[in-house]
């Protein structure tokens, strides 16, 4: 068996507006465009993903919320029509995805070894959440790479940020070990927005970009501060600031995907590539990538150079 590799991780937010703006045939509503800088950012991320040629994409989505443990998709093929409950006017999308069940099971098993509650979702009628689908469409619209889908356990909200992100850190370590053990060449997708303050009303024409701007200046400043640190590879500082960022910018990274991804990658101190930044109904969205293969850090033969528990 080949040695497992985490080739890269992407911060890959999931506003359904981006799919709507692109007008793919799978989505019913038609738009006149909109959110181009973010969509063009995804085009560049897609090209980098294509060059990596991964076996599998793992996506952690804040819109599959679970209360008893961390759940993983465990059915080989899932398909259907996904309608966004918040923006049904923008996102009504027909999808079909293949799941890497073996890797998902390995993630669940490794999670249990680390003391997490994990559960495999085996119901073939399960409705995959729109966060997962949007993220996957934007990064790989061909839908030709198997997927592992992970739920967002609600511990960060139910208990507190510190305990919640500690669990996500463990889930990341479990994911890393599962990828190593199964010999996969994997790419990780953290489906998170940054600052999450948003408008409460939608413009009459949703894609009218004259109405789009950051909801708050504070949120925007926080996003720039964090992006700048990520661009410079100052990962330790990013995670030191993360709880304050979450608190003050209502950042969606609280749901855990970002911590999960960085934990799995071993918290590399390498510059992230900013493909683009933009707002969607006022929220801050950055498409970014950390190419571990290029940095010679993708092979998982050893324990990650650690930042222990970053929430300590």
């Amino acid at each position: 068996m080949a040695q497992g590799e985490i080739l890269a991780g992407f911060l890959a937010p999931h506003p359904p507006h981006l799919v709507y703006g692109e007008n793919p045939e799978q989505n019913e509503p038609r738009s006149q465009g909109g959110w181009e800088p973010l969509r063009w950012a995804y085009e560049r991320a897609r090209a980098d993903l294509e060059a990596l040629k991964p076996d599998v994409l793992l996506v952690h989505s804040p819109h599959w919320i679970t209360s008893v443990g961390h759940h993983l998709l465990g059915v080989r093929t899932l398909s259907g029509k996904s309608v966004d409950p918040i923006f049904p006017n923008l996102f009504r999308y027909r999808f079909s995805l293949d799941v890497d069940v073996e890797l998902a099971e390995a993630c669940a098993e490794e999670g249990r070894k680390l003391g997490l509650v994990t559960k495999m979702m085996r119901n073939p009628n399960f409705r995959v959440d729109y966060g997962t689908i949007t993220c996957l469409h934007m990064i790989r619209p061909q839908w030709d790479i198997p997927v592992v889908g992970l739920s967002a356990n609600n511990t960060p909200y139910y208990l507190n940020t510190k305990e919640g992100l500690s669990e996500m850190d463990l889930l990341g370590k479990a994911t890393r070990e599962a990828i190593r053990r199964t010999g996969r060449r994997a790419v990780l997708l953290a489906s998170n927005t940054l600052s999450h303050w948003h408008f409460h009303e939608e413009p009459a024409i949703p894609e009218d970009m004259s109405k789009e701007h950051p909801q708050t200046y504070e949120g925007y400043k926080w996003d720039m501060r964090m992006i700048e640190l990520m661009r410079k590879g100052r990962t330790r500082e990013v995670f030191k600031l993360l709880p304050q960022f979450i608190e003050e910018a209502f950042a969606e990274v609280k749901s855990g995907a970002f911590t999960w991804m960085f934990s799995a990658m071993g918290y590399p101190e390498i510059p992230g590539e900013l493909y683009g930044y933009g707002t969607v109904i006022g929220t801050g969205n950055a498409v970014m990538g950390w190419n571990l293969q290029r940095e010679g850090l993708s092979t998982l033969g050893r324990e990650p150079a650690s930042l222990a528990r970053l929430t300590d």
């Binding site: 599959w64 919320i65 679970t66 209360s67 008893v68 443990g69 259907g80 029509k81 309608v83 409950p85 918040i86 923006f87 049904p88 009504r92 509650v117 559960k119 979702m121 085996r122 119901n123 009628n125 399960f126 409705r127 959440d129 739920s151 511990t155 139910y158 948003h198 408008f199 409460h200 009303e201 939608e202 109904i281």
Partner: protein
């Protein structure tokens, strides 16, 4: 007043999916009793507010005439599917959309095939046998930014719209009591309220509901919401309160019990 009956019912799918588990089966049986009372009140439509239908932009109202599909709960999928076939009173729902701005709330109708109807609306409709052609629904979303007062106003407005159309309505608030769930796998046969404190809070609130002591409830519910993590701040109760013009003489608790540690009750309000 066009309100002919009013109920609080749980939104957890467990009583519906696993009635053979004793505490959940009791809740399912309580829902059946409430459903019979609802049917006996002969409503023309049923006004439903479910804490699990989240909205963040505008106030959403279901305006799809017939919603059909198979729903799978995102947490309890291993216990099976929830096929549904729900009829809506779209005339009344559209009236609610149109009237919402009068109370300062932006609203929109939701009229899409395959729209993800929430678990609470589905299980409550099935348990109470509503959402049928004879008892169609008007379903309101839970806008996460709306407070109790706004929720009351929405319900009062919906009742006023029904009145204008000459319709008799049943009012249903779908949601739980204390919100703490067990965080690990349990033997479901031993399910219980997650903590004695939560249990005390639930019983205290239910006693006040039974006695119709609205003033005390208004005073205590914020503490209940904070200390017992009441489901969505107990906003589904304010939906009932708004529909009943802020008063009711009493209520009957058909059932009370745990849903994986959280509190669940079936309540029929006296009108």
């Amino acid at each position: 007043m066009p309100v002919v009956s009013a109920f609080l019912v749980p939104g957890s799918p467990l009583p519906r999916l696993k009635p053979e588990v004793l505490p959940w089966g009791r809740l399912a049986a309580a829902c059946q009793r409430a459903g019979r009372a609802l049917a006996a009140s002969r409503p023309d439509a049923v006004l439903v507010y479910s804490t699990q239908w989240f909205a963040v932009l505008d106030q959403q109202w279901l305006t799809h005439r017939r919603s059909r599909g198979v729903h799978v709960d995102e947490n309890w999928y291993e216990h099976g599917d929830l096929p549904y076939d729900l009829h809506a009173d779209t005339e009344l729902a559209h009236a609610c959309v149109a009237a919402s701005p009068r109370i300062g709330v932006q609203a929109r109708g939701v009229n899409y095939e395959a729209f993800p109807i929430d678990t609470g609306t589905i299980v409550a409709s099935q348990a109470l046998e509503v959402g049928t052609p004879e008892r169609p629904l008007v379903v309101a979303s839970n806008n996460l930014y709306h407070d109790a007062a706004t929720t009351e106003k929405l319900a009062a407005m919906a009742v006023a719209c029904a009145d204008e159309q000459g319709k008799r309505v049943a009012v249903v608030g779908v949601g739980g009591l204390s919100g703490s769930q067990f965080r690990t796998e349990i033997d479901v046969r031993t399910d219980r309220i997650a903590s004695p404190d939560d249990d005390k809070w639930n019983q205290r609130i239910l006693q006040l509901v039974e006695s119709g002591d609205v003033a005390q409830l208004r005073a205590l519910v914020p503490d209940f919401a904070r200390e017992a993590r009441a489901d969505m701040g107990f906003k589904h109760f304010y939906w009932i309160l708004g529909a009943l013009k802020g008063r009711f003489p009493g209520a009957r608790v058909h059932g009370y019990g745990p849903a994986y540690g959280s509190g669940a009750a079936v309540v029929e309000f006296t009108l």
